[in-house]
């Protein structure tokens, strides 16, 4: 089976600062793939490169069989409709209500009558576990957890097959984070999603991530499922999984 995302030998440089030095990884269809690493290890940058917000200096990234380095305008437009992105701070349009935020892409691309559109939007709102009244609220009136859910609903508006999440549980309380993890699992089940998420939430890594890659020293230190990754003797992995918090977490298991 062809991988959904294939990254090979990617090099990224900001001025003199080398961020990625030959990164390669594969995301298979239907899995929840975690991108891990400390601050500044370039995981968000890698995510931005996968969703066409940034271009690496060298290497190859292909998403759904399309090479991102040599993409035509039409292909890019098509590709952008195949994925949804949840930004770290939500990035909801502050001048639109939640319902308008979710509906804006549908309105632009699906050309459906307003009543059907409204029904789809309401269904998405309910699907991500937001209360009905949230539809008419503006982003400024939402709590942190609601913002995450609303932007997840927006990311899912076009029923994409591919979902990118940038630190989905950061800034949520443990209960909210757990509920959000559960939601992502449910949605994957329901909508056949492939999920790529940047995270350093140990709980998420233990409970929902199928496979992961750990970034450090400008390279991929380890890739695979959790056991495989934990067996790697690299110091960064030692610190991450066998540090105080990691040890406590691993005692609880799934």
């Amino acid at each position: 089976m062809n991988p959904v995302i294939l990254v090979s030998d990617v090099v990224t440089r900001f001025g003199d600062n080398l961020v990625h030095d030959g990164i390669s990884l594969k995301v298979q269809k239907g899995e929840i793939y975690g991108l891990l690493g400390g601050s500044g290890s370039g995981k968000s940058t890698l995510l931005r490169e996968m969703i066409l917000l940034q271009r690496p200096q060298a290497g190859e990234i292909s998403v759904l069989g399309h090479d991102l380095m040599s993409l035509g305008r039409k292909e890019a437009a098509w590709l952008q409709r195949q994925w949804g992105v949840l930004f770290q701070a939500g990035a909801l349009y502050s001048s639109l209500t939640v319902a308008e935020n979710i509906g804006i892409k549908l309105k632009e691309y699906a050309h459906l009558p307003n009543n059907i559109l409204g029904e789809i939007v309401r269904m998405k709102i309910h699907m991500v576990g937001l209360p009905d009244y949230a539809a008419e609220l503006y982003p400024a009136q939402l709590s942190g957890g609601m913002i995450k859910r609303a932007s997840l609903a927006r990311a899912l508006a076009m029923d994409p097959g591919l979902l990118f999440l940038d630190e989905p549980t950061s800034g949520l309380d443990p209960i909210g984070a757990e509920a959000f993890d559960k939601l992502i699992l449910e949605l994957r089940e329901m909508l056949d999603l492939t999920v790529v998420m940047v995270t350093h939430d140990l709980d998420s890594i233990w409970t929902i991530v199928d496979r992961l890659a750990v970034l450090g020293d400008r390279k991929v230190i380890a890739e695979g499922n959790l056991e495989e990754v934990m067996r790697q003797p690299h110091p960064i992995i030692e610190q991450f999984f066998h540090g105080e918090r990691g040890r406590i977490r691993s005692q609880h298991g799934k």
């Binding site: 549908l106 691309y109 309401r122 400024a140 076009m158």
Partner: protein, 382 residues
């Protein structure tokens, strides 16, 4: 795969026994649904009290939007008294249907009564009036708070933020000199030109000096300078304070005991109140200079003649009145700029809105204040 698969279709057929058969096929994904909506909308409207079969076995793929659409028309048919039998759904489709259907709520119809439509303009008017009153109230509270802080500071004058005041004078005053020079020079030129044309008819060329001197010093220089400052400084105050509000810097200041009025508002207000009169005097000089230039080029009044006449006709009171308006205008501009800044709420759009409002308010208030001065001073005979 990209385009071929992106076709959705639905057909309404009559089979041998007269039973109605609905056959849907293709990709019922969100991008393709627009093809079937008109057909469904047209056909389902007229089917009442019949039994029909809906064959979904030829749908190659369906997403949650497709399910919503399907359920919408299924519900509509059932509401019209039809008996619908859905056949050929794959297990995956059934599963998706169950999951999505549990997320679809019956729409809470919120129809307004027709009466409220007629009353809507009045409602709107009432809301606007109330919003206006609330605005005035909020502004008065703001002014009051500001005065209290000012009085407390006057008792402890070493607590003034002198450094901030000086920096604000630099920004609002010195930084605005080029644009003030340009505008007041042009105003002088325009007045001289317009006056020259009229006065030449009567051979009263020399009176152009009276006209320029009095109109520029008493009215035009203060007004033009104030408008420039409102557009330049008032707007930036709103934006600065608004951004600080959004990033919670104002909250951070409050919890550290840094009174925003002491740190942000008063330095700005005082700075503009000091800078504006000075700028008005500067604009007086430049405006008269502009007029002098035109007078010498166009009306053959030499510089010496002009200055001699100027000394005779320009009473000092005109200059003083013009400059005295400065602090009042400055107070209005800086206060409305800061006040609107504090009104910015948490979304980014409101910065733009309040910046616009603050400039419009400031310019209006300046002109209204100027009108008040005119009436008052005329009544007093000054």
């Amino acid at each position: 795969m990209k385009t071929l698969d992106h076709q959705a279709d639905v057909r309404f057929l009559q089979d041998e026994e007269g039973e109605l058969l609905v056959v849907s096929s293709g990709s019922w994904r969100v991008a393709a649904l627009k093809m079937v909506v008109p057909i469904l909308e047209r056909q389902t409207r007229n089917i009442r009290n019949q039994s029909l079969r809906w064959d979904v076995s030829r749908i190659s793929s369906i997403d949650s939007a497709g399910i919503v659409l399907f359920k919408h028309y299924l519900d509509q048919l059932q509401a019209q008294g039809c008996k619908v039998e859905v056949v050929g759904a794959s297990p995956a489709q059934q599963k998706l249907y169950r999951m999505v259907a549990s997320s679809i709520l019956t729409p809470p119809e919120t129809r307004r009564s027709p009466r409220s439509r007629l009353l809507q303009p009045f409602n709107r008017l009432g809301e606007l009036a109330m919003a206006f009153l609330r605005d005035i109230n909020a502004f008065l509270c703001f002014v009051g708070e500001n005065l209290v802080v000012l009085i407390l500071l006057l008792l402890q004058p070493w607590k003034f933020r002198y450094r901030a005041i000086v920096r604000n004078i630099q920004d609002a005053g010195v930084g605005a000199l080029p644009i003030v020079t340009l505008t007041s020079f042009l105003i002088g030129v325009v007045i001289a030109y317009q006056g020259a044309v009229q006065l030449q008819k009567f051979g009263a060329n020399i009176f152009v000096v009276d006209m320029i001197a009095i109109s520029v010093t008493r009215e035009l220089a203060p007004l033009i300078t104030a408008i420039v400052v409102a557009g330049r400084t008032g707007s930036s105050y709103t934006a600065q304070i608004g951004v600080m509000k959004i990033t919670q810097e104002i909250d951070a200041m409050r919890i550290m005991g840094f009174e925003p009025h002491r740190f942000l508002v008063l330095p700005r207000v005082i700075a503009v109140m000091i800078a504006l009169p000075l700028m008005i005097f500067f604009a007086d000089v430049i405006g008269i200079l502009g007029g002098m230039l035109v007078a010498s080029l166009h009306l053959n009044i030499s510089f010496t003649e002009f200055i001699h006449r100027l000394q005779n006709v320009l009473e000092m009171k005109h200059v003083w009145i013009g400059i005295a308006k400065g602090p009042f205008f400055a107070w209005l501009i800086a206060m409305s700029g800061c006040f609107r800044g504090f009104q910015v709420s948490r979304n980014t759009e409101s910065i733009g809105r309040y910046t616009t409002i603050s400039v419009v308010n400031a310019i209006f208030l300046v002109i209204a204040c100027d009108a008040l001065f005119s009436v008052l001073l005329t009544e007093l005979g000054i």
